[in-house]
C-alpha cells in the first residue's frame, strides 16, 4: 500500500474511531464524581483489617496480589526475552571498553554525588511502600537508574566489573520466586493463595500491613536487577559491541 493510501485509510478509520470514542466517553461517570464503589471498599479493607496506610500498596500487593504476580512474570519474561535478543552475535566483538564514555569532570562529579543519594532514596522508597507513596516498583526503578549514574560518571569499565550478569539474573529469579513462595505459603497457612498471613501491626508504622512490605521487598529486588540487566545490555549494544567490519576500521 502506498503512503498516501495508508494515510487516507487512517483518516477514515480515525474519524470513525474518534466519533465512537466521544460517544463512549460521554457515557462514563462524570469526571470528579463521588461515586467510586470499588475504591470505597478497597479503602475500607485497607485501613480496617489490613492496617495498610498506603491503600494503593494494599490493592497492589494484598487485595489484588495475583494480578501483581502476573505482572511480575510479564516483567521477568520480557527481560529474559530482551536479554536473549540482545546477546552478542557471533559476528560482533567488543571494542574500547576501557575508553568508552569519557566525560567532562563536572559531569563525572555530578554522577558521583548523585549516586549515593539515588541509592538511598530508592532503598527508602522500597522499604516504606506500605506506609507512604512508592514501593517495590518505584524504588526498584530508582535504584536501577541510580546505579547507571556510574556510566554518566564515565566509569563504564567499573560498571561492567561491578555488575556481572550472573548474580543479577539470579537475584531477578529469586525476587520473582519469593513472591510466588509467599503466595504458596498462604495456601499452607490459611488455604488461600497470597493471603496476608503476617501480623498487621498498627496503621502507619513501618512494620505494619503484614506481607505487603515483604512482597514490596521481593518486587524491589526483581525490578532492580531486571532493569539493571536491561539497561546494561542496551548499553553494551550501543557502547562496546561492533560488527567485525566496523571493529576493524
Amino acid at each position: 500500500m502506498s503512503r498516501r493510501a495508508r494515510l487516507a485509510m487512517f483518516a477514515v478509520v480515525a474519524a470513525a474511531l474518534g466519533a465512537a470514542l466521544v460517544l463512549a466517553l460521554l457515557g462514563l461517570p462524570r469526571f470528579g464524581s463521588a461515586f467510586h464503589p470499588y475504591g470505597d471498599r478497597a479503602v475500607a479493607v485497607a485501613v480496617g483489617p489490613q492496617q495498610t496506610a498506603n491503600v494503593v500498596g494494599s490493592v497492589t500487593f494484598d487485595q489484588r496480589g495475583v494480578d501483581t504476580l502476573g505482572e511480575e512474570f510479564i516483567l521477568f519474561g520480557s527481560v529474559i526475552g530482551a536479554l536473549v535478543l540482545l546477546r552478542p552475535a557471533p559476528e560482533e566483538r567488543e571494542v574500547g571498553v576501557r575508553g568508552a564514555g569519557r566525560v567532562m569532570s563536572s559531569t563525572g562529579l555530578a554522577g558521583y554525588l548523585l549516586l549515593p543519594i539515588s541509592l538511598l532514596v530508592g532503598g527508602y522508597i522500597v522499604a516504606h511502600g506500605a506506609v507512604s507513596p512508592g514501593g517495590g516498583f518505584q524504588g526498584g526503578v530508582i535504584l536501577a537508574s541510580g546505579w547507571h549514574l556510574l556510566y554518566v560518571a564515565g566509569r563504564y569499565a567499573a560498571l561492567r566489573r561491578l555488575v556481572p550478569n550472573k548474580p543479577l539474573e539470579l537475584a531477578e529469579a529469586v525476587g520473582g520466586a519469593a513472591f510466588a513462595a509467599i503466595g504458596v505459603a498462604g495456601i499452607g497457612v490459611a488455604g488461600v493463595f497470597l493471603v496476608n498471613l503476617l501480623p498487621k501491626g498498627s496503621l502507619g508504622s513501618l512494620l505494619s500491613a503484614g506481607t505487603v512490605p515483604v512482597l514490596n521487598g521481593a518486587v524491589g529486588v526483581e525490578v532492580t536487577s531486571g532493569v539493571v540487566l536491561l539497561l546494561a545490555s542496551f548499553l553494551d549494544q550501543a557502547v562496546v559491541l561492533r560488527s567485525i567490519e566496523e571493529a576493524d576500521e
Partner: protein, 78 residues
C-alpha cells in the same frame, strides 16, 4: 476542575503531539522525556503520587534512555 488541572491536561496533550510529530527518533527521545515529565505533573495533580513516582522513573529516565541507546546503535550501521 481547577485551572491547574486544565493546564496539566493541555500540557500532556501538547507534549504527546510533539512526540508523535518529532522528525527523528533521537529528537523524539528528548520530547518523550518531556512528555513523561508532563504526565508526572498531571498524576500529581490527579492525587496519584504512587503512579507519579513510577512514571518519573520509567517515563522520563528508563524508556527515553533505551530509545537513545537504540538510536545510537542503529544509526552507526548507515
Amino acid at each position: 476542575m481547577t485551572a491547574l488541572l486544565v493546564v496539566a491536561l493541555l500540557l500532556v496533550a501538547l507534549a504527546g503531539t510533539l512526540v508523535v510529530l518529532a522528525p527523528g527518533p533521537s529528537r523524539q527521545a528528548v520530547t518523550l522525556s518531556v512528555f513523561g515529565l508532563a504526565l508526572t505533573v498531571l498524576f500529581v495533580v490527579l492525587q496519584a503520587p504512587d503512579v507519579a513516582l513510577s512514571q518519573l522513573g520509567v517515563g522520563t529516565v528508563v524508556v527515553p534512555l533505551m530509545i537513545m541507546l537504540t538510536v545510537q546503535k542503529t544509526r552507526r550501521g548507515r
